[in-house]
Amino acid sequence: MNSPLNRHTNILDFALSSLLRRKSKNLSLLVVYTLIVFVIASLIFFVQALKHEAAQTLAEAPDLVVQRMIAGRHDLIPATYGEQISAIRGVRSVTPRLWGYYYDQVFGANYTLLVPENGVVEPGSIMIGAGVARNQRIKIDDMLTLKTSRNAPLLLTVQGIYPSSSELISSDLIVLSAEDFQEMFHLPPGQFTDLAVTVANPREQVTVATKIAELFPDTRPILKSEMLRTYDSLFEWRGGMMVVILAVAVLSFIIFAWDKATGLSAEERKEIGILKSIGWETSDVLQLKFWEGIVISLTAFLVGVVLAYGHVFFFSAALFEHALKGWSVIYPQFRLIPVVDAYQLTVLFFLTVLPYTAATIIPAWLAATVPPDAAMRS
């Protein structure tokens, strides 16, 4: 019966019963602790899910986008550039793309207008994102009126609405035919918004981009990996900023925990005194405190993580989506795909449990080294 494991389970048993005996004190600590874990966990899960979403979206993006720059501003690119680029060795295909933005004065919203590569829409009809449909209150077969650059109305029939599963990218989208696009914006002939380039061998992307930059010094080739990296660091920067802001909250929690741990009641001191006088050693009392800490930390950690999971993946992080997502008139309503891995949990552990543990070591020792007679007399 004296095996070390038995000793630990007995001490754990005692720790649980002593925690339950001081319900109100421990409960308040547990609530605050859980809240801290919940907030930071929500943040980490949310950022990770957005990064995942961006990576998924960009997986379909072209290897290389070539934009023309004039005086540091994005300009239209002539189709002749595309012909010369497709002659570069290693380039598989060059697709000129037409897209742009349209500001709707009536509804005060910005739409993204896009011409698809494979002509899924007939002239006169459009496909729209769910956000546009909500904003304009229209459904399939309704008409949508856009104002062209020459101030003439352009009537278009809604042929389809993109499913809400793709809302993160399609919310503000209007897909229209090249003819209608031309009608809308009156682009000079043979000019496109930019060029999408695919490269046969992924390892040659950088070389191809360098060649394009040399051939056309007025263009800027953007690699898919660069876009991905920019999104990643943007989301991480926002997440990091929030963590820095939350550091204040963590700090106040630590002070709270420290205060709770040092403020031993007379009853607790007496209890430790009795334990020591019946033969508990200082190391046993320390172990008792250790198990108490583990129970509180684990409970708070698990409950906080589960709540955060629900908050982020079922309620789309309603509490701080505005800080992290940005805002717009047509805002996509979307459910994030759950991505939680050991890495995020470890980071969370380091950000919450570690400071708590550090804050409670000294109080635990102070409690454990009380001389038994003094403790009982007090």
Binding site: R220, S283, L286, Y343, A368
Partner: protein, 331 residues
């Protein structure tokens, strides 16, 4: 500096660890100077009470230290997408000159921390604080190393600059282009395989002999450390290749990724655990004649030997299983 939650977590952990270690080392020095078990002075009683605090602080700190090694590699791996040319942790660590020194220091500190925890455990088993001076002497070696690690780690994170698209110019091609593909030159695989399996077999034999007869503990400890070094080199030289099924990819970090079933964690954990226990056996030898420990130490040494043997065998088993089960061969 990249404001990544994991970087903040690691920095906070380092800061806390350093703070606690400096506090502990301060008292450790006082204990080294003033400790006198025969005396009943107030100072001695106070120091005796402090030893509990320091033991607890260090146990927590060193466990965090060991966890932070893994978090560091995790983070470096996670950051690789931010740098041009970086494919995995190998690339992110090479972004500036601090990355690898921090990793090496973390491994050394991890080993030392493990040994310290073993010595501490043995010390608490004796009634008269038998190893107290050794313990705090070791702490005075460990503390500066961990401080140095924290400083270097901070320098590493501070000098990380993500290569992102800026509004003025999209391409980064004109700026300096690093081409670190995680290619670390490996040692020739044939001789390394022989060396790896040879030294592993030797260590196991010596370990079994020590376990059964209690003789040759020093040699076992030495061999288990040697095995650690050889196995780490083999990991780069040939073990990885079997996991990647690529004859040219020597990166020791990619095996930590999901694509390879996180097998790297099992490999690193068994290797580190084995090395720590093996070193622990050796570090206890000088004290085995101590009166209050003469009965405790042999039992602990045997248990540690068993741990080393099991972990090293597990490591070898994973490696051998992969070498046999994959269709990839090194010609």
């Amino acid at each position: 500096m990249i404001q990544h939650p994991a970087i903040l977590a690691l920095s906070i952990a380092s800061l806390l660890t350093c703070f606690m270690l400096v506090y502990a080392a301060g008292y450790g020095t006082r204990i080294l100077e003033k400790w006198d078990l025969q005396s009943g002075s107030e100072l001695q009683l106070e120091l005796e009470r402090r030893t509990y605090l320091i033991s607890v602080i260090l146990s927590y700190t060193l466990v965090f230290q060991i966890l932070s090694l893994f978090l560091y590699i995790f983070t470096a791996d996670n950051l690789h997408s931010q740098f041009t040319g970086a494919m995995c942790a190998a690339g992110s660590l090479a972004v500036n000159s601090y990355g690898y020194p921090v990793l090496i220091l973390k491994i050394i500190n991890c080993l030392l921390a493990g040994v310290w925890l073993i010595v501490n455990h043995v010390d608490t088993r004796g009634y008269d604080y038998p190893l107290i001076k050794t313990k705090y002497g070791l702490l005075n070696i460990l503390a500066p190393l961990i401080l140095l690690e924290a400083v270097l780690q901070f320098a590493y994170f501070l000098n990380l600059k993500a290569d992102v698209i800026t509004s003025c110019c999209g391409s980064l091609f004109s700026t300096d282009k690093r081409s670190i593909g995680g290619e670390i030159a490996g040692l020739p695989s044939g001789p390394m395989q022989q060396a790896f399996f040879g030294i592993m077999a030797l260590t196991v034999v010596i370990g079994v002999v020590f376990y059964l007869t209690g003789k040759g503990g020093g040699i076992f400890s030495l061999f288990s450390s040697l095995t650690f070094v050889v196995a780490a080199a083999s990991l780069v030289s040939f073990i990885c290749l079997y996991f990647y099924e690529l004859p040219s990819h020597h990166c020791p970090f990619c095996i930590l990724q999901k694509e390879y079933g996180y097998v790297g964690y099992a490999l690193y954990a068994t290797l580190l655990g084995g090395a720590i226990s093996g070193l622990g056996v050796g570090s206890l030898i000088p004290f085995s004649s101590h009166p209050s420990l003469s009965r405790v130490i042999p039992a602990i040494q045997r248990r540690l030997t068993l741990v080393t043997l099991v972990l090293y065998l597990l490591f070898t088993l994973i490696v051998t299983w992969r070498m046999l089960s994959t269709s990839f061969t090194l010609g």
